[in-house]
Symmetry: C2
Subunit: 315 residues, 2 copies
């Protein structure tokens, strides 16, 4: 039997039979898992979720093709069909039949052992510790901002919202050399940003209508409204988070100021791993706590506290 962290109307740690890998799947033994805001949203009703949670992980392959056995891996979370028009067009993260590890129709990584298709696996270089490698998935999502928008070194850029993801997005943007500010009111975040020479600002301190790119990591209507005010005409707003329900927004501003609003979701793993291996992004300071898998309920409660950044789970 294995332990599985699942949400079935309530969050609990249950015992399940050993996972049975399907064709082209591997079985992975969890080393470290990371709790993401999406996990919290799933429990709040997003997508009507029910099932096993967890999509940020690093682990060891314990069953599967011989060439993968024993390797330490992270894994792309979108399980794509490979056959639909979007897969064929090279957009497997948008596969029309996709399942998503711990998010949609695929049991998650917060378990002693779990399955994932072999083609989703990415080996972790030896020099990258587990508690760093576990950030690969959210860092890939942060890197996706750079896939989505061309950030110029001369750009004035603002990140609105300095939560788990916002702090990673800020660090990725920092590497472009751009003129960067991060909106946050929290002293903890301000201190972390200062350590890597990123300017923290209160929203009222920033000039409106002048920023080339604004990345909204808040997931709140207020965050989007702030982004609309901060961005310059013909500037870019990157939406990096999901919003609970419908949002009221001043779409006329988009037309009149000819703003580009572009969504950005999951990213590719190899760039994230390169940044972690080169130690260009600092993730260790973002870890607030590490819980045992059997204490996952307590871990989730802790992770839900305002201002808490990354909470990890270990077997």
């Amino acid at each position: 039997l294995i332990r599985v962290v699942e949400y079935v109307g309530e969050l609990r740690v249950s015992e399940h039979p050993e996972p049975e890998p399907g064709e082209a799947e591997a079985v992975i033994r969890l080393r470290v898992g990371g709790i993401c805001n999406t996990d919290m949203e799933l429990m709040a009703g997003y997508r009507g979720f029910s099932g096993g949670l967890g999509h940020e992980f690093v682990g060891d392959v314990v069953a599967g093709p011989p060439e993968w056995l024993g390797r330490r891996v992270v894994g792309e979370i979108n399980v794509a069909c490979g056959d639909c028009d979007l897969c064929q067009r090279g957009m497997p993260t948008h596969c029309r039949n996709r399942r998503v590890l711990g998010i949609a129709d695929y049991y998650g990584a917060f378990a002693d052992r779990f399955c994932l298709p072999v083609r989703n696996l990415v080996p972790v270089p030896d020099g990258v510790p587990d508690r760093v490698a576990v950030f690969t998935e959210p860092l890939a999502a942060a890197c996706q901002v750079l896939e989505t928008a061309h950030i110029h070194p001369t750009d004035r850029v603002v990140v609105v919202g300095a939560g788990k993801l916002g702090m990673l997005v800020a660090q990725v943007l920092r590497l472009t050399g751009c003129n960067l500010a991060v909106v946050t009111r929290r002293d903890r975040q301000k201190a972390l940003l200062a350590e890597v020479a990123i300017q923290a600002a209160a929203i009222g301190e920033l000039e409106v209508g002048v920023h080339d790119v604004v990345v909204d990591c808040t997931g709140s209507p207020e965050g989007f409204a702030a982004a609309l005010a901060l961005v310059r005409p013909r500037g870019i707003i990157v939406l990096k988070s999901t919003y609970a329900g419908m949002t009221t927004a001043d779409l006329t501003q988009i037309a009149v100021k000819e703003i580009t609003v572009v969504g950005s979701r999951c990213g590719s793993f190899p760039p994230a791993i390169r940044l972690l291996e080169r130690e260009l992004v600092h993730v260790a300071p973002l870890v607030d706590a590490c819980f045992k898998l059997s204490d996952a309920v307590e871990a989730f409660h802790f992770a839900a506290r305002p201002g808490v950044l990354k909470v990890l789970l270990e077997p």
Copy 2:
């Protein structure tokens, strides 16, 4: 004295003194003016407007620099300062101090004679009739869709909303060779579209989630919601119109489907004039009525009827 169509709490035709051109301004005698939806929105309270209306025109220069005297012209409507950061960056239509002919702080073209800076003037080729040339400004706005988004010949494109502007946008998109459908329920529009071999469709007839580009020309929340449904993952929605007040929208779809939403407003005149001169866009069928300037109030009432396309004003 000259006649001026102005909105001052009510729409009326008033008598004003002859316009006195400022430095670097010309005086233009109206040949033909066109009523735009923006004119109607201004009267409904948009921007708290008060003043002389009209920004679509063709006319003759009757005072100004000798090299312009007697020339038949159309004119860019944004009166830019030339000095602010956005003017200096080559975005005069977004000038921070801009006035806009008949829209913001600058008396409009629905008058016997009116002023405009010389640098806003664009000569009309002899072969283009007045009632065609008057479409230059809205056609330039339609062409701006192509400046805003790269439309590929292989793209599946939908225009939602077949009003004055939507019909011009559809004709511009038609020239790209793209696979184009226009959402409309009106028989008149369907017939006009059929004449230029553009597919008309009811919204329910179109496949959701597969269109590369969707242009929303409705200015309604329902139009934006339809665009979100029709566009494919990583597709583009072009917002071509202003929305009355705040709009409720499902921004999460933008993030999850990684959609690009981009606003598009005024366009450059030379491409529009080239298309009119080459007769690649057919504007004559869009004219529903032509009124005398002194009957402008009646003309506006007629233009406001559902389904009416372009209404012109002549001295």
